[in-house]
Symmetry: C2
Subunit: 253 residues, 2 copies
């Protein structure tokens, strides 16, 4: 059987502002793309538009940096107010040196700058964009809205681009999951020859996040939502937690 997966970036997605109904914007985008949702489809959404719709921006002028933030800012050569927000969004700093601050985010994953985007928010200086308060909940809300509208069973991923240990370049990873098998556990299954499978847990949500991210380019460019059809796994309930390696099982933290 030929197995095909199709990823479609919703065309001409509008700029998203605080309070926008992102689910409705996605419905309109699906219409422009000529996509009628069917059971098993997956919607992949860039973190940036979720954060914007949820009003997760913060004005630098309103932030008073702590002494710890000032110290981190000196180490990293960054704005102390931004470092204050990074610290508030983090459980702990794993590495800090010139231009690089790697943290364990309060949501449990490891990333640079706690996912706080300082470079540009809607073309205005002086603002930072934070990750959604609870990306799993954001994904669940979008899913409910889109499922109710379409009468289908869907998966929703909210993704960001993360750098990695050992390898160059960022790749898309899931930071919010609803109705999607984030981790596929194949322990105990057998291969064609009856041998136990070597690879036993697949980071499926991150694999789909990465593929969709390639199509988005960057959310900045107006392709922040990707529709996926033909996922070769059944959908189920799922969450970001499946993808988080416990610190005590992590040899590189």
């Amino acid at each position: 059987m030929t197995t095909t997966m199709t990823l479609t970036a919703l065309p001409d997605f509008p700029l998203v502002r605080e309070g926008d109904d992102l689910g409705h914007l996605i419905q309109e985008g699906l219409g422009r793309a000529g996509v009628d949702l069917v059971d098993g489809d997956v919607i992949v959404v860039a973190q940036k538009v979720v954060s914007k719709a949820e009003g997760r921006r913060l004005n630098l002028a309103e932030v008073e940096p702590s002494e710890e933030a000032r110290s981190l800012a000196r180490t990293a050569g960054k704005d102390p107010r931004m470092m204050e927000v990074v610290l508030r969004e983090s459980r702990r700093v794993l590495r800090a040196e010139r231009e690089v601050v790697i943290v364990e985010h309060r949501l449990g994953f490891v990333c640079a700058n706690a996912g706080v985007d300082h470079s540009n928010v809607d073309g205005e200086d002086g603002w930072m964009l934070l990750l959604p308060e609870n990306p799993d909940a954001s994904a669940a809300r979008l899913r409910r809205q889109l499922e109710t509208w379409s009468g289908t069973r869907l998966g929703v991923l909210i993704i960001d681009s993360h750098g990695r240990a050992w390898r160059m370049g960022v790749v898309g990873v899931a930071i919010g999951v609803s109705g999607f098998p984030a981790l596929v556990d194949r322990r105990g299954e057998r291969d064609l020859f009856g041998y136990r499978l070597r690879v036993t847990q697949i980071g499926l949500a991150d694999e789909i996040a990465a593929g969709a991210s390639a199509l988005m380019g960057q959310a900045d460019e107006g392709r922040p939502v990707v529709h996926v059809r033909g996922l070769p796994y059944p959908l189920r309930e799922g969450s970001l937690a499946e993808l988080l390696r416990p610190a005590d099982q992590d040899l590189f933290r």
Copy 2:
């Protein structure tokens, strides 16, 4: 404009044996899938079938473990002969403890067990399968063969599944690259508002490897080759080296 990327796993791919003409098998698979190659298409191939075609298997009985390998085997609770092969395939061991051996592979990337597969080779016990000698060269050979056959300009990726720091589950990553922009460098480019892009280097080969890997499931299941159409970047010459973070720029090694 609607941007669509389609990934198609070539159906009913046969078991690959040493000496098989993998390029020809891919041609036949494309035929079965009803795919006529066009300029810009990408062929993603699981490492396992490349290694098999290239005869990269080794009989455990032919391996004499060194003292270092015996020591590593004691630490990891693994076969000393396998550890001998892992050491031969590696520059150095980064971490070793019960059931886990993470190395810097001779090819430059970081992975578990130097990519050596001991679990099963063609259903026979006592064999190990090594990574291709030079995956970039393997990718280039396949690319030449498929380009000549089809008269098109293609990209070829050879991929494996790697575990990661910080996150659970393995994901597909590129270990061999030909005719494909492994890393997309956007430094200096501007976004919609004229601001410099926050994310400046995209690990595109790894993003496509991950998406294709989701479709393969596991090479063991007979979907080791995926055809990609609609990559939203132009092809160019490329190599694995682009994806390798130099050890002195790596805070987690």
